[in-house]
Structures are given as C-alpha cells and as structure tokens.
C-alpha cells in the first residue's frame, strides 16, 4: 500500500514539479551561466557565446551606474519596507478599533491590491503631471509651495537624503504594498488574546504602553515574516520604477531590475543583464534561505 501510495504521489506531483523546475529553477541557474559567457546580440553571429568567466561582472562593477542602481535598490527596498510596515501597523490598529464605518474603511484600504501595477503607475503619473497635479494645486492654495513640484523629473531638489523622484516613486510602491501588509497585520492583531490587554489595563497600562509592550511583542512572528517577504520583493521590484521613470531622471530612480531589463532589451547585452540579475539572485537567495529554513522547521 505504501509503495502504491508513493507511486501515486509522485505521479500527482510530477507535472507541477517539472514545470516549476523547467521554468523556475533551471532559468535561475541558466542566468548564472549566461552571466559568465559573452552574449552580445549584435556580435552573436560572428563571435558566438564564448565563456568569459567573471568578465561581465567586472564590466558592471566598473560601471558607475551599477553602484548607483545597487544603492538605490537597497534604499528603495528599505523605504518601502519601513514605510509600509509602519503605516500598516497604524492602519491595522485603527481598523481594529470598534467604530462605525470600519468595514467600509477596510475594503477601501484593500482596493489598491488588485490594481495592476501598470494602471497604478499610469494613474499616479497623471496625478504627478506637474501643471495638472491636484497635489500641487492644493499645496499652492495652502501657500506651501510657489512653483509646481516636478515629481518625476526634478533632478535637483532633495528632501533629506532623498531625491524628489525617489520619494514620488516610493509613494506609489507604498500605495500598492499597503493592502497586503494591512491584511497580514490585522490578522495578527486579531489572534492576540483580549485578556492580555485587559490584564495590562488593570495594571494601569495606557494605549501607548499596551501597543509597545503587548502588541509589538505578540506580533513579532508576523512582522518578521512580513519584513522578510517585503524586503525580498523590494529588492527585485521592477514595474513601478520601469513604467514611471525608466530609472530616470539622471538615474535617480534607477534600480537593478530596471537596469538589467534595459541592458537586455535596449542594449541587447543579455550577458550584462544576466550578471546584474545574478546580483539580485544572490542577494535575495541569502535572505530566502533563512526564511525557508525557518518555515520548513516549523512545518
């Protein structure tokens, strides 16, 4: 019976597993191989694709744009993870309070979840169109700014360490990421037993103390998972940056994923593109490995 069951199991799992191996795992490995050969589409007919070792990596590491894109990738990921987690925590707290209209508010917060990234980017580009931006209009009416903010093209002004386009693009990524985070944190909040709060209240804890000494520790597992997932996703993010700015202006919003895509499909340098995406692969694999080890041992 066991043998029959095992054969049955392998037959059932095979189609899914083979597809994932062929179009998921193999391409990742093949990316690494591609990063170590010369694969210039313009010279493919004459040169072929000879093995060149780490030459592609040397080329990209010597490209100043790479370092910029690398730092931007990390910075974007950190901004998105930080802001989304913080806002998600606050929103979930508010949604967890009993008040009228809570259900409606919750559904509203969820909506950006289903908006395709292309559409989200398109709408925000329109909202950010300097002369016609409702944001500029309101800020001007309030007397906070004199000229229009050029959200996506201002390469000069900065707010602290962040350029204006970086802030604008981040806002869109945060906007799209909030629903998922809010849902996860809300589920975490609802699994905290109420009597812990009650006993903390009896002991005289105020709202802030309850949040800091009960909620946060109880949410630690949820938050750890979330931050890991968000960070990995943030490192590999592509769509919003690519569509809204294409990495510009002056590479201020350039990130590794966009740089890689452009190397391949505008420069036809698939080898350099693969080398850049290999950097993403290595970075994310390290984080993912820890996460998987934890998950599997919990199961």
């Amino acid at each position: 019976m066991t043998v029959r069951r095992n054969i049955f199991s392998y037959l059932m799992v095979a189609p899914a597993l083979l597809l994932v191996l062929a179009l998921g795992v193999y391409p990742m490995v093949d990316s690494l191989r591609l990063a170590m050969v010369q694969y210039d589409l313009m010279r493919l007919d004459t040169d072929g694709a000879p093995f060149v070792g780490f030459a592609n990596f040397r080329t990209i590491f010597n490209d100043p744009r790479f370092l910029g894109a690398f730092l931007n990738t990390i910075l974007f990921a950190l901004i998105a993870v930080g802001a989304v987690t913080l806002l998600g925590l606050l929103i979930a707290q508010v949604l967890n309070l009993g008040f009228r209209g809570r259900g409606a508010l919750r559904s509203l917060v969820l909506v950006p979840w289903v908006i395709p990234p292309v559409v989200a980017s398109a709408i925000w580009m329109w909202v950010f169109q300097p002369e016609r931006s409702p944001i500029n209009q309101v800020l001007k009416a309030m007397g906070l700014i004199e000229g229009n903010i050029k959200f996506l093209t201002d390469a000069i002004h900065t707010i602290g360490p962040f350029s204006i386009p970086m802030m604008a693009v981040s806002a869109v990524r945060i906007w799209g990421g909030l629903p998922f985070v809010t849902v996860m944190i809300l589920a975490g909040l609802q699994s905290i037993p109420q009597d812990i709060y009650e006993s903390a209240e009896i002991d005289g804890a105020g709202a802030f103390h309850k949040f800091w000494y009960v909620t946060i520790p109880m949410l630690r597992a949820t938050l750890a998972i979330l931050v890991t997932l968000l960070f990995i996703g943030g490192i590999g993010h592509f769509e919003v940056n690519y569509i809204m700015t294409g990495g510009g202006p002056a590479n201020l919003t350039n990130i590794l994923a966009v740089m890689s895509y452009q190397q391949a499909f505008t420069q036809y340098r698939f080898d350099l593109a693969a080398a850049i995406s290999s950097v993403i692969l290595v970075l994310t694999s390290i984080v993912a490995a820890f996460y998987i080890r934890d998950r599997i041992s919990h199961d």
């Binding site: 029959r4 069951r5 095992n6 199991s9 059932m12 799992v13 189609p15 899914a16 597993l17 597809l19 994932v20 062929a22 179009l23 998921g24 391409p27 990742m28 093949d30 990316s31 591609l34 606050l90 508010v94 508010l105 509203l108 289903v114 908006i115 395709p116 990234p117 292309v118 559409v119 398109a122 709408i123 329109w126 169109q129 016609r132 409702p134 906007w175 909030l178 002991d203 005289g204 804890a205 800091w212 000494y213 520790p217 590999g236 592509f238 769509e239 569509i243 994923a257 391949a264 698939f270 593109a273 693969a274 995406s277 993403i280 994310t284 993912a288 996460y291 998987i292 599997i296 199961d299």
Partner: protein, 303 residues
Amino acid sequence: MISQSLKNAQPRGRVKLTHNSVLQIAMRWLGRIVVALFAVGIVIFVLLPFYWMAKSSFQTNTEIIAIPPTWIPQSLTLEGYQRALTMIPFVRYLTNSMVIATATTVLSALLASSAAYVIARYPFPGATAILAIFLFTQLIPPITRVFPVYFLIKDLNLINTYPGATIAYISFSLPYAVLMLSGYFRNSYPVELEDAALIDGCTLFSVFWRIVLPISLPGIIAIATFTFLGAWNDFLWASLLLYQGQMKTLQVGLRDFIGEFGSFQRANAFMAACVMSTIPALVLFSLGQKNMVQGISAGAVKG
C-alpha cells in the same frame, strides 16, 4: 516585558486617580482627533488616485488639458471611453488577457491541487524538499530568470502565442498555489473521509477526483482567483513573451498610450482604458474574497 511596562505605567495610574475628568476627557478627545486625522489622511492617500482616474476618464479633452486642473467635471462625457476603444485595439487586447488568464487559471488549479493534495495527505519521501523548491521559486523575484525563460519560449517557437504565455504563467503561479492549497488540504476535512472511500474500493485517484476536489472547491476557487489576478495584472512577462501588435495583453497595450500619445494629451482616453482594464480585476477580487472566507470557514463535511 509586561512587568517592565507596569513599572513605567505606575505614575500615570496615580495621575489618573488624583486629577480626573477634565484632563482625561481632553486626552481622550485628543486621541480620537489624532486617530480620525490619520484615518482621513490614509483615505485620501488611497482614494485620490482612483478619484482622479475616474473623473479624468469622464472629462472632455479640452477640460482635461486645462491648467489648473478641475476637480469636478463640468460636463460628463464618454468621449474618453470611445477614444480608448479606437485608439488602441482595446477589445483585442482584452480578449488576449482574458483567454490567457483563464487558461492559466484552470490548468494551474488542476496541477496545483493534484500536487498540493499528495504533499498534504501522503507524506512521501522528498515531499519536504519539493515544498522547499516551491517556496524558493515563489520567493525569488522574477527578474532573476526572465532572460532564460524568454530564450526557452523562443526556442520552442512560442513567442507571441497563447500557449507560450500560458505555459509560462502556469509555472509562475504554481508555487504559490501549491503552498496555499497544501495548507488548505491539510486542515479542511477529516482523514476518515478518504479512508472510508478507500475501504469502499475507490482508487487513490478517484478519491481525489470524486471526493476531495468537489469538497475543496471553495478553497481552490479562492486560490485560483489569485492566479487569475496574477496573470491578468502581469506586465513583466507579457512585455517579453507577447510584444507583437495583435498579441499584446491589456497591461502591455496600455503602454501604447504612454509611448505614442505623450503623458497627458489624451489623458481622458488613457484613464478610461485604465478604468476598463481594472474593472474585471476588481469584480473578480470582490467575488473571490467572499469565496476565500467561505472556503476557509466551510472546511469539512458535517456529520
């Protein structure tokens, strides 16, 4: 940690006992106002783009290029929608998206539930390793494998075809679907059900096909919703695998507006196209959400 919190909280407690009402009531109202302001801020942040998209889609072109912008359309018009349908082959793009996303969803649901079922129910040698492979592929961002996948589909002569994109989407949706469904199969109905059927002489496969699948349909549909949305909303893969005129999906086709028409000249048509390409996803999501809740709470057979 709690005991520490109590120490810190002590003085506050005493304050509460000595001064009372006025300060306390003021603080409580202050708290409420802060919460309300925060909630309003979030609602504006979330909704402003939607409102801006919707109102722009109903404005005339003259109104839309006016400076400063108008918040409330002076004359509602469907001009934007008419134009969106004619400026790009909208219906064709929509059909492409629909066919590919539907095929992906059905096939992926079948493959994922077969795999998830045995992983959850028959702990066979290697099951954990397989789960780890799925988890890994699920986690690693797609940009790390686009080029080899592109070459692979190209070598199969499936670029700019439905099957090429569908195979790719199925394989990308499988890890998430298998992970979610194996959790679902593990908890959604009692093992006795299978055992009874096996004793009655059912084969292993017919237990899965005739008993497990039908009971688990709500959960499978919930996961399938995510698969559909993933394929429907995708830009990255579609931009590589379906780039030729007539074969583009909606998400890639929408970029025609950015490329050819500048960012605002035809913004009403662009926004109308955005509205139309979001509606299917929104409708499905609201239906799927209900299913998700049902699927998780319905669970087992009664009695």
